[in-house]
Amino acid sequence: MIVQDIVEKLGLKVCSGANGLNREIEGGYTSDLLSDVMGNADENHVWVTLQTHKNIMAIASLKELAAIVLVKGYEPEADAAEQSNEEGIPILSSEEEAFELTGKLYEIINQAK
């Protein structure tokens, strides 16, 4: 399962980092607390959050996450999008809230296993 698959299955908008759409996804984590994500997310996870500032990319890069999915139609701030393009870690956006989106992602990722 790659990032492109969840983009298609869930109709997500690709805000930035389209060069990373072939990154492998192995799981996910949902949280808006950065230290929680730092401590508990893992490599190749998709991260569901409403945070849109540049620090989300610092975390995604350090943890080698597969992608970030912003909820409720949020868009990344310009410097976050820029780093996402540079590092090839996509920032995606969904119109849904974290609860619905996480549920769907969980199902799709587990089906692929």
């Binding site: 950065l34 730092m38 500032h53 975390i59 350090l62």
Partner: protein, 137 residues
């Protein structure tokens, strides 16, 4: 090998850049990926604590054949009660900082879990010194 990185208090847009440099170096040295991951979590949390809570600081990295020793020193308010600060959920972060998703009070506990040795010393109104050691073996 020794490296030194400056950390600017209050500059969130640069937070994580020193940790990212150290990660690159450890990758080049072919350090075990599991140990790199642990070290990166510890260093990031220590770096962000300087950005969020102190005025300025630096990260001194010493990489040996068998271990990495990192000292993060800052000039800042210091920590009056280290045991309290180490408790998960304890935070003095400002509302603005919390809005960004910092201030869960999980940084120091993350460092504890992701380092082999951790030493903090702090002096109120002077600053804080944190030492993190991870062994490669």
């Amino acid at each position: 090998m020794e490296f030194k990185f400056e950390i600017e208090g209050g500059n969130f847009s640069k937070a994580g850049s020193a940790s990212s440099e150290v990660k690159k170096i450890l990758k080049q040295l072919n350090v075990n990926p599991k140990i790199i991951k642990r070290t990166v979590v510890s260093l990031y949390e220590a770096e962000v604590n300087v950005v969020a809570h102190a005025f300025e600081g630096n990260m001194n990295v010493d990489i040996d054949t068998d271990k990495i020793v990192v000292k993060i020193e800052d000039r800042g308010p210091g920590i009056p009660d280290i045991d309290q600060a180490m408790q998960e959920g304890y935070s003095t972060a400002t509302p603005q900082v919390r809005e960004m998703g910092f201030g869960a009070g999980m940084g120091l506990p993350n460092i504890k879990r992701n380092s082999d040795k951790m030493n903090i010393t702090s002096k109120v109104d002077v600053g804080t010194e944190l030492e993190i050691i991870n062994y490669f073996g």
